[in-house]
């Protein structure tokens, strides 16, 4: 197979702007190979590099006595006392879900679960925040059905209770639904696993499912605005395999307990590329990969395809060499692939070999460190127009209309499709302010909620950002929990437009201020930009996932009132 010639136009097809391509040429002092171009495009797209958002994300409060690990790893880690920690994060799978709702949403759940268990935590709760177009829109019904079914099929089979979330309908999401998935897990505070490699000459091991051509170019897709032809292009979507993920979870937890793991990283978008670079970068080491050893599902896969494949249910690990036999036996037991595909090297180098050829030879640190970062121009959102006067109507009728409206009616039809009780620790089920899940074998419990009100964020991003955090705080408090920390999933339109960037900046300011004031640091999160179709942006939707702690279930406040109870309204 001949590789296409690398030039500016091929770089543009990879989503690299002319100045970004020039940056690569300057860095290498030569033209990159085809595989190298693929690697750069994966590392430098919005999804992996956070090039438009980094500047602002740095302003969020991320510290506190309860924080064991803030943003930057696969998930955030919070101390919950007694040597235990909760590990959690939220992540979007918006574009894939619009193209193939069932599989897109399912693989979104799979991805976030892996983020949690790569850190050594057993997932104990999942949530999902969903935004769809108006009910009457011809696509909405099948999107809703597919997304809910996909989330259920993955979480139910994997065996994590899906205990909460949000569902909203608004025309701004007609061409661009949002699927944000949250997962939380439990671990021992002194047994958290990180991604930084350490030690020279250590084996780099590939774990899990085989590599196929799934979503090659997918990371690039997730960061590009949709056009009319989005439905025609139909890139290969990934199919989720929750059964393999469940085995991968059990195998990874056994592996971690065996003491074989130096560092571990899940393969998400542009799997092998991002995971290998991240492990090397964090550990100040180089990585050499021999792709001949990569377990492949399809024949004649090229280096380019392997480096960009988004096949699911895979991990990359740096192994203690003396533990190889133990580790291999665990993966045999679970019938999963285990292959040594490279090793750590002392120099700052990312060397990729395939078929006896060097396919990529890059300065490793530059792949993340030299990634472009933008200070995008932004304008403050102008004051919203006042609302039209509220029509006079009969209060009882108004109440009935509100309760029957798509955005306020019961969500039982959603959560009943999710196993929200598996693991037998769900103390407060969906349908309350926040769900409460017991810490297995203890009297402690964790409370979970997901909140945002996008129309507030549109009207006033700063206040909308604050409101989302405050609502999450209230939902947790109402169960009797002490709020601990949040994860955010920032969904916005095209950041190259100053008004959209203004919404983004405003929401971050508001979230930051509220988190600071309420002592709820942001410990993980995800940014999804370019949520636009034909130039129409979604409502600014910074989903907030929040976690609180009940030190004893005796503190839990039930929601169901008893006859004769007094009803009080507090606050203002």
């Amino acid at each position: 197979m001949t590789e296409p010639a690398v030039n500016q136009s091929l770089a543009a097809d990879h989503g690299l702007k002319p100045d970004e391509y020039q940056r690569i040429l300057n860095l290498l002092e030569r033209t990159p190979t085809f595989t190298e171009l693929g690697i750069f495009s994966a590392m430098w797209n919005e999804h992996c590099s956070y090039k438009s958002s980094k500047k602002w994300l740095r302003t969020l409060p991320t510290k506190g006595p309860q924080v064991i690990c803030g943003p930057g790893e696969n998930a955030g880690v919070i101390d919950i006392g007694d040597g235990q920690a909760v590990v959690f994060k939220m992540e979007s799978h918006n574009h894939p879900s619009y193209i193939e709702p069932h599989q897109g949403a399912a693989t979104g759940v799979g991805g976030i679960l892996r983020d949690v268990f790569t850190m050594g935590a057993r997932p104990i709760a999942a949530m999902n925040a969903l935004s769809f177009g108006e009910i009457e829109h011809p696509k909405t019904r099948s999107l809703v059905a597919g997304v809910v079914e996909g989330i259920g099929s993955y979480g139910n089979c994997f065996g994590v209770p899906t205990v909460g979330g949000e569902v909203r309908f608004h025309p701004a999401y007609n061409g661009n639904c949002l699927v944000n998935a949250f997962a939380a897990g439990l671990a021992d505070a002194d047994k958290i696993f990180y991604s930084a490699a350490s030690g020279v000459g250590m084996p780099v091991v590939y774990l899990g499912a085989k590599t196929g051509r799934d979503g090659v170019g997918g990371a690039t897709m997730a960061s590009a605005e949709f056009g009319e032809d989005a439905e025609e292009k139909r890139p290969t979507v990934q199919v989720g395999d929750p059964f393999t993920e469940k085995r991968l979870l059990e195998a990874c937890l056994e592996l971690m307990a065996s003491g074989a793991v130096i560092s571990i990283q899940d393969m998400g978008a542009a799997g092998l590329t991002c995971s290998a670079v991240e492990m090397g970068d964090k550990g100040n080491l180089g990585i050499e990969l021999d792709l001949d050893a990569v377990p492949c599902r399809e024949q004649a896969m090229s280096a380019y395809e392997m480096m960009l494949s988004e096949s699911q249910e895979r991990m990359l690990m740096v192994l203690k060499p003396e533990k190889e036999a133990v580790a291999r036996a665990i993966f045999d037991k679970w019938d999963l692939d285990f292959a040594i595909v490279g090793h750590t090297i002392p120099e700052d180098r990312f060397l990729v070999k395939h078929d006896g050829e060097i396919k990529a030879d890059l300065p490793l640190k530059a792949l993340s460190g030299e990634a472009p970062e933008y200070d995008r121009p932004w304008v403050e959102t102008s004051a919203a127009r006042p609302l039209a006067p509220v029509p006079e109507m009969d209060p009882a009728e108004a109440l009935a209309a509100l309760m029957g409206s798509p955005n306020l009616c019961s969500r039982a039809w959603v959560w009943q499709q999710y196993d929200h009780m598996v693991m037998a620790d769900t103390v407060v089920r969906p349908g309350s302010d926040a769900a409460v899940v017991r810490v297995h074998g203890t009297q402690k419990a964790l409370a979970f909620t997901a909140d945002v009100t996008p129309r507030y964020c549109k009207a006033n991003p700063v206040e909308g950002g604050k409101q989302a955090v405050a609502e999450a705080f209230r939902n947790l408090s109402a169960t009797g929990a002490r709020p601990l920390a949040v994860t955010d999933n920032l969904n916005f339109g095209n950041p190259e437009k100053p008004e959209i960037m203004g919404q983004f900046v405003g929401c971050i300011k508001g979230i930051g201020a509220a988190c600071e004031a309420l002592d709820m640091p942001v410990v993980s999160g995800n940014v999804s930009l370019y949520n636009e179709t034909n130039g129409e942006a979604i409502l600014p939707t910074p989903s907030i996932g929040a976690v609180g702690l009940l030190t004893s279930l005796d503190e839990a406040i039930p929601m169901a009132p008893c006859a004769g109870d007094a009803l009080l309204m507090i606050g203002h």
Partner: protein, 233 residues
């Protein structure tokens, strides 16, 4: 009571079931891996948990039913051992031929997770004897393929032989169509083998056997097992 929980790849209610059995028996249940060829010696009860064994790919329970440990479970059952299958465990017992009928996709075609009411249809079994006067219980279901299918002859025989252990009912104990979460024939939620020592059921008594989880209606099942075993000993 010495019990064992069989663990297949994809089982995910194995821990819950072991907790419920262990709590009732006062000794932990052993966990047995599907690739093992034999059960631990001296067992009183073998339990097959819920979940998605082998992903429930092909048909629910089909692949698990043909794994090495199931030969030992079938032998154990044929020797008169007590075997309990919950949810996916029920599907596996049916696929293994230990219980009659079939379980098919819910009539709604959707996964359903919620509490249902069950009527305890018989006390004549090692699984139900301790329900006593408590003939309508509330326990959760969580499944996608729980519609119990039996032809007319089979349904009539199960009825005549008092082998229907549980039916889906409303809070008043009536087996209405609305109370049926999945389209099971005759609202059947659980059935017994002809020697009454094998029970398969879709609902999850192990999920409501702890007051902190909002109820203990499932607990008498595990007490029944302990009593039945103690009586023999």
């Amino acid at each position: 009571m010495k019990s064992a929980v069989i663990v297949f790849p994809g089982s995910n209610c194995d821990r819950d079931l072991a907790v419920a059995l262990g709590a009732a028996a006062g000794r932990p249940a052993s966990m047995v891996w599907h690739k093992d060829a034999a059960l631990p010696p001296g067992l009183d009860v073998v339990a097959i948990p819920g979940g998605f064994s082998f992903g429930d790919y092909l048909r629910c329970g089909a692949i698990a039913a043909r794994s090495p440990i199931m030969r030992a479970v079938v032998d154990f059952a044929h020797r008169g051992g007590i075997v309990l299958g919950i949810c996916n465990g029920f599907q596996i017992l049916i696929e293994a031929g230990l219980l009659p009928g079939a379980l098919m996709r819910n009539q709604t075609l959707k996964f359903v997770c919620r509490d249902v009411h069950l009527s305890v249809e018989t006390l004549q079994s090692p699984f139900t004897s301790a329900f006593g006067n408590q003939r309508v219980i509330r326990v959760p279901v969580a499944h996608h393929d729980g519609a119990y299918i039996a032809d007319y002859a089979l349904a009539a025989r199960l009825e005549a032989e008092d082998r229907i252990a549980f039916r889906y009912v409303d809070a008043d104990g009536d087996a209405t169509e609305a109370a049926n979460p999945n389209g099971s024939v005759g609202n059947i939620a659980g059935v017994l083998s002809d020697n009454r020592r094998i029970l398969g059921m879709m609902p999850h008594p192990e999920r409501l056997a702890d007051p902190q989880l909002g109820g203990t209606d499932g607990a008498p099942m595990f007490r029944s097992l302990v009593e039945a075993v103690a009586e023999v000993a």
